[in-house]
């Protein structure tokens, strides 16, 4: 009995010591975790669900979060504000020549890259050439030559008029992210180091790839007073619950989240910023019927659109953070046609009749590829499959978990259609991303001469002009009536932020939250 008592005493002592140690550690941890809540924020942390494709701005892909990794350290030629209006950045002015076949850029004087080298017309030419060759974006595809026409003047010659250059050269288009000559000398270094002229510079010693990307204020930046944080970290947090916990405990000040997390974050006192930012639905790539001849028939495509109960699917999947749509332009933006909204109002009977008229009275089958990632596309696909089943269309789903596998599947030539989400931008960019040849999503390479003609017509005038808007509406009407795809919901981008930062705003006109514009709240 005596020895048992001694055992218990020993355990009690060990237990007490462990408790004291744990409390001490907890207090130490407490001082670090709560510190960010009190003083003016000098160090900002943004959570992102995945790391970059590459730190080379030409290879990093588009959309958030990818764009953030190069937006911080590479300044664009043109800056676009949250309402979509263009402002000078590395370029002070720009204009098309009267024949619309040249685009002249005047550069800012006195700008230096983060390595101290001066920005010149030659360095801009070389950087644009590099982006033209290596970037997978289409913005420079109509460029024939890029020439330094003065010490601080660059002229881009076009093979055909293209009003999208000012969009390609802004922070979303990324073709105007100018790379220093030292980086262009050895492009392999672009994947690990900063060679930009942006607000921040990558701190390679503190960065751990795919975990935390640490940027510090660039001492060579041309407008130091506009740099709002001494340190800016992008922390990769794949798990939604961990993201929310990091926000709530003050470790992270901002994060892009999904609709499931939005309500919990708002209830916890975080600020929710939203803007109608992208549409989600199914893209029909097999318009020429190479894989399944049914897709070449407009009545089949229209039937597939009519069979979807958009209000029901949208409410079930996205709650109040999305609205049903059958269009590609955001409500209230150029190209949007209000009367088209009811064109594919849910009508299974009419859908069946259209299938019968097209020669598919007994229904049809096809495989659908599900894009991994944003906006609950897996659930969206399952909902659509149920609606299609009701009209006799049997769809088998393939849902790769990684985007790399998705790209591989897309190129396999087995799939006539895929789910997708597409960020809103100017109307021409959205159309040229889908319905022209070539187009980002046109992975089977179909050639719709009318769509191509509309694109040519829309390219012949400046974006936002009355003439351009009129063509945009006609183009939109054509692709919706032809049911070239099956959009279902117009969804919001959702950002949760702590009260310690402000100016995290964006809009349908420019749905990319720009971290270089965020500021400490006090």
């Amino acid at each position: 009995m005596k020895s048992q008592s001694r055992t218990r005493k020993l355990l009690a002592i060990a237990g007490s010591a462990s408790t004291i140690a744990l409390v001490a550690v907890a207090l130490a941890g407490c001082s670090s975790t709560s510190g960010s809540k009190t003083t003016t924020l000098t160090s900002m942390t943004l959570a992102a669900p995945n790391g970059p494709n590459s730190l080379d701005p030409a290879l990093n892909g588009n959309g958030t979060p990818l764009i953030w990794y190069t937006q911080l350290d590479y300044a664009p030629l043109i800056d676009r504000d949250q309402n979509g209006k263009a402002h000078p950045d590395l370029a002070t002015s720009w204009h098309y020549t009267s024949d619309r076949l040249s685009f002249v850029i005047e550069l800012r004087k006195g700008v230096k890259f983060s390595d101290g080298e001066a920005l010149t017309a030659d360095s801009v030419v070389n950087s644009l050439e590099y982006n033209k060759k290596n970037s997978t974006f289409p913005y420079l595809s109509n460029v024939s030559t890029i020439t330094a026409t003065g010490p601080l003047e660059v002229t881009i010659a076009l093979s055909t008029p293209d009003p999208l250059l000012p969009y390609g050269l802004d922070q979303e288009g990324q073709e105007g992210d100018i790379i220093a000559p030292e980086g262009l000398k050895n492009p392999k270094l672009l994947t690990t180091e900063s060679f930009g002229a942006g607000e921040y510079v990558l701190d390679t010693s503190s960065t751990i790839s795919n975990s935390a990307y640490v940027y510090t204020a660039n001492p060579k930046y041309w407008d130091k007073k506009s740099v709002n944080f001494k340190k800016f970290t992008i922390k990769v947090i794949a798990d939604d619950n961990s993201t929310l916990a990091a926000l709530r405990s003050g470790q992270v000040q901002a994060a892009q989240i999904n609709s499931n997390t939005a309500a919990a974050g708002k209830a916890a006192g975080l600020t929710l910023e939203t803007a109608n930012s992208a549409f989600v639905g199914v893209y029909f790539a097999d318009i020429e019927g190479k894989i399944n001849p049914a897709f070449a028939n407009v009545k089949v495509r229209q039937a597939l659109n009519l069979a979807i109960n958009r209000p029901s699917v949208t409410k079930a999947l996205y709650g109040t953070t999305a609205t049903p749509t059958d269009q590609y332009a955001a409500k209230g933006t150029p190209g949007y046609v209000a009367s088209l909204e009811k064109l594919y109002a849910y009508n299974a009977t009419k859908a069946k009749a259209l299938l019968a008229e097209a020669g598919y009275a007994n229904g049809l089958s096809f495989p659908l590829l599900v894009q991994p990632g944003a906006l609950n596309q897996n659930l969206l696909a399952q909902s659509m499959v149920q609606d299609w089943k009701a009209i006799g269309v049997n769809v088998t789903l393939t849902a790769p978990t990684a985007f790399s596998d998705y790209v591989t599947d897309l190129e396999s030539g087995k799939y006539p259609a895929t789910t997708y989400n597409f960020y809103y931008s100017n109307h021409l960019t959205v159309m040229q991303g889908q319905f022209t040849k070539p187009a980002l999503y046109n992975f089977l390479g179909y050639d719709d001469s009318k769509a191509n003609a509309f694109a040519t017509q829309e390219r012949s005038s400046d974006i936002g002009t009355a003439a351009n808007n009129a063509v945009a509406a006609k183009f939109e009407t054509y692709v919706v009536e032809q049911a070239l795809a099956d959009p279902v919901s117009s969804a919001d981008t959702l950002m949760l932020t702590s009260k310690t930062i402000k100016n995290v705003q964006f809009s349908s006109a420019f749905p990319i939250p720009d971290p270089t514009k965020w500021e400490p709240a006090n």
């Binding site: 941890g29 974006f137 990684a402």
Partner: protein, 313 residues
């Protein structure tokens, strides 16, 4: 004993060849187009072909494997397809994180598990049953769920420990420990209960054996009976189980690192696997194999020290 350990080390060297080879084979058989996935949807065939050539992916798999093997013998594990960084550079800051996590968990489930196991044999049956029930629950509770619960209580509600992230020991020892407390508990919990149950069962067998009864009759104190004689005898099977639990903890660390956003080998493994970044996956497989081999060799050394019967054999 030296011969036994020597043979074990030699056998383990074969593992260092076989495991990365199997990893390479599996990844090579998985349909993927690394260049296309890196370049994204808008890439042209020319761009994809150029990147495949640049990455050496236009070479036959067998050539690529032997290049990797020869390089690894010289300490060069190649470069990441995605970031172009040297694999050793990518993994260098992560190995310390993973080792801190799994060694921390090893210490916790060993010490706490042994104490609970011994304590339960010294107490009445009710306490033993409670520990049995808790042990079963501990094995059944998934560490990712426990991790979320711990974050909810200690980080979000009480705000006493960080929800995510890792602070290196060189930066601050106290913050390093603070960043590891919750992940270590989440990872070790199942191990604690398994060790406690194993220890209790072995202790009950040992305490019921004739030699313990003889010692008790001869007046040897209970404390000495428990710790000097019974525990030492029970420790052999428990240490063997510790090795298995450690390997389980190593795979569990992949999930725990993701929940707590620790920049360790596990979280990198998940990211690299989704990107088909074969050189990094190979490097991680090699590092994990080395860790398992070292732990197994250590166990082979410890068991004969604890149990003279094994030493004699």
């Amino acid at each position: 004993m030296l011969r036994r350990v020597g043979l074990r080390v030699l056998g383990s060297l074969a593992l260092l060849i076989v495991v990365p080879a199997i990893t390479f084979l599996i990844q090579s058989l998985t349909p993927s187009n690394v260049a296309a996935s890196i370049l994204g949807l808008g890439a042209t065939n020319t761009q994809i072909a150029a990147l495949n050539h640049q990455l050496g992916l236009d070479q036959p798999a067998i050539v690529r494997y032997f290049e990797w093997l020869v390089g690894s013998l010289h300490g060069d594990l190649g470069n990441s397809y995605v970031t172009n960084q040297a694999v050793t550079t990518i993994l260098a800051p992560r190995i310390g994180v993973s080792l801190s996590l799994v060694i921390g968990a090893l210490l916790v489930f060993t010490i706490v598990g042994l104490l609970l196991g011994v304590l339960s044999t010294n107490q009445n049956r009710a306490v033993g049953r409670i520990i049995d029930i808790v042990s079963s629950a501990g094995i059944a509770i998934p560490n990712f769920w426990l991790g979320v619960i711990l974050i909810g209580i200690f980080s979000v509600q009480l705000n006493v420990l960080p929800a995510t992230g890792y602070v290196p020991a060189a930066t601050s020892a106290s913050l390093w420990i603070a960043s590891l407390v919750l992940p270590v508990v989440a990872l070790a919990f199942g191990g604690i209960t398994a060790v406690a149950k194993q220890t209790r069962d072995q202790m009950l067998i040992a305490l019921d054996s004739p030699y313990i009864r003889s010692l008790r009759v001869n007046g040897v104190p209970d404390l000495s009976l428990t710790y000097r004689h019974a525990l030492r005898n029970a420790a052999g099977p428990t240490v063997t189980v510790l090795g298995l639990i450690f390997v389980g903890a190593l795979s569990g660390s992949v999930v725990v690192e993701n929940i707590f956003v620790l920049p360790g080998l596990g979280s990198q493994a998940v990211q690299s696997a989704t990107q088909h970044d074969l050189p990094v996956i190979q490097g991680i497989a090699l590092y994990f194999t080395i860790i398992v081999v070292v732990v197994n060799v250590l166990i082979d050394i410890v068991i004969p020290i604890l149990n003279p019967k094994v030493r004699a054999a």
